[in-house]
């Protein structure tokens, strides 16, 4: 995956949705940005696997702390929020 690909926001969003869909056992097309992880029936282990999947796919370090998800500096309130932050992580890495 080249950097150009990584910076294409639509492709980032699509890849994040695929990673989340894989854990939620649904089709990527069923994952929408306004959805919460609870909407997708993702438990804490599923979330940890998503974080791992994102780190592997984009080669970034996600600042997520399972002890205190609210204060870990990584917003997981919705699929869209996760996508925005992944975009930010990638952009900072590219800068």
């Amino acid at each position: 995956m080249g950097l150009d690909f990584m910076l294409d926001e639509n492709l980032i969003a699509q890849r994040v949705k695929e990673i989340i869909a894989e854990q939620a056992l649904v089709e990527p097309s069923e994952v929408r940005e306004e959805m919460t992880l609870a909407d997708l029936d993702l438990d804490s282990l599923g979330l940890i696997e998503c974080i791992f999947g994102i780190e592997e796919a984009f080669d970034v370090a996600v600042p997520f702390n399972a002890n205190n998800p609210e204060e870990s500096g990584f917003d997981i309130s919705s699929v869209g929020a996760i996508i925005r932050q992944v975009e930010g992580l990638i952009a900072r890495q590219a800068a």
């Binding site: 056992l25 282990l45 696997e49 791992f52």
Partner: protein, 403 residues
């Protein structure tokens, strides 16, 4: 004293994917030892082992569950399902708090450790899968079995190398006797036929390069296997009251420590463990009709075990067949005594003694009837199963035919 019976048995091992196929293979004197297929096998000095073939995890477990299940846990879960199905147990909410699990394993998630060491050391990656710890921990199998069947009573893992499963089953017996539980799932499993697991064993230089020939004069060492077995132990009155199938009674258990050497076997420790198990069962040595030996196929173990058996059994040893089924399924390390208990059950239930295969020549240092090469019909009313671990920790089970 509360008595304990076995009401269900299940297994996945190199000889079979369940109990009937395992009995069939033992009766046909099959040897499951063959070329190893793990990654980097060319770099191993030992290239033979007894692998579980044709085991498809995806056929047994949901995709979402698999990332949490090391192979040793998969073997335990599939075995436990079979055992529970045979026992026909349906546990009420109250029953669940009186039911538990204790399983043995020596290496736990050894393949998971190996895979992830590769990831960080060989591949140089700085990130591992998030479930490495819950997957590799030694109690993973016991915990998953507890979750699968709602076993809310005592739950733990024993890890005493090659005696792990016998120690586990001994604990299960004592918990039920003591009134701390009414039902215990127990046994053990092992899966360390990966590069690291085999390489470590190779270091000891006790591994055979050709095959496993316990008690045979030309024996050349041990051969590793993988797999496991799980049993349902149940308080006898409870089992009788519900009309459960009773496969055998768990009559006695004995354990001892050599307190001498970390690897060299000793005669005194095994002698005391066997005598303790017989005394616990209230049986004279003459009552034992079959012994499943520890019988690893190393020069030292088999000679010492034969001497220990001679001391315990006296003249009766001439009339008491002693076989080592490790010659067929390999040494399943922490799970081995669980699979070997199946040979005892087969003797008591079907009147067939599992053979010691690959046996070419009697060894004067091992003066016993090893049931060489072919299974034998014989009536046995009680059977003994030996496990003598590295570290000098010995555990012996005695089963009695269901009355």
């Amino acid at each position: 004293m509360r008595r304990v019976v076995i009401t269900g048995a299940g297994t996945v091992n190199p000889l079979g994917s369940d109990v009937p196929s395992t009995y069939q293979a033992m009766q046909a004197a099959q040897c499951a030892i063959g070329p190893l297929t793990c990654r980097d096998v060319a770099r191993l000095g030992v290239q033979i082992g007894a692998e579980v073939k044709g085991f498809d995890p995806a056929a047994h477990f949901a995709r979402a569950q698999l990332p949490l299940l090391d192979r040793f846990t998969q073997f335990a879960l599939v075995s436990a399902r079979q055992a529970m199905a045979q026992a026909g147990l349906e546990l009420s909410d109250d029953d669940q708090t009186r039911a538990g699990v204790v399983l043995g394993t020596a290496g736990g998630g050894n393949l998971t450790v190996d895979d992830n060491y590769r990831t960080v050391y060989e591949a140089g990656k700085n990130r591992v899968h998030p479930f490495v710890v819950p997957k590799l921990m030694h109690n993973a199998a016991a915990s998953h079995v507890s979750m699968a069947f709602g076993l809310k009573g005592p739950g733990f893992t024993t890890s005493t190398a090659c005696a792990s499963a016998n120690h586990a089953m001994g604990q299960a017996l004592m918990l039920i006797r003591a009134g701390m539980a009414d039902v215990m799932l127990t046994g053990g499993s092992e899966a360390m036929l990966g590069f690291g697991g085999i390489k470590a064993w190779e270091g000891l230089r006790v591994m055979s390069r050709d095959t496993c020939r316990p008690f045979s004069r030309d024996r050349s060492g041990m051969v590793q296997g993988e797999g496991g077995a799980v049993f349902v132990f149940e308080e006898r009155d409870r089992a009788l009251a519900r009309g459960a199938p009773i496969l055998a009674e768990v009559a006695g258990f004995g354990m001892s420590s050599d307190a001498s050497d970390i690897v060299m076997p000793d005669r005194d420790g095994p002698v005391r463990a066997m005598r303790m198990a017989l005394a616990d069962a209230g049986l004279a040595p003459e009552a034992i009709g079959y012994v499943n030996a520890h019988g690893t196929g190393t020069a030292a173990n088999d000679r010492t075990e034969a001497q220990a058996l001679a001391e315990v059994m006296g003249d009766h040893l001439a009339d008491c067949p002693v076989s080592s089924t490790k010659s067929m399924h390999g040494h399943l390390i922490g799970g081995t005594s669980a699979v070997e208990l199946l040979a005892c059950l087969m003797a008591l239930q079907d009147g067939v003694l599992a053979p010691t295969v690959n046996f070419t020549e009697a060894d004067p240092d091992c003066a016993l009837d090893a049931v060489p090469n072919t299974a034998r019909e014989a009536r046995a009313d009680a059977a003994m199963s030996n496990a003598f671990a590295f570290g000098g920790l010995n555990a012996v089970m005695v089963l009695r035919r269901a009355a």
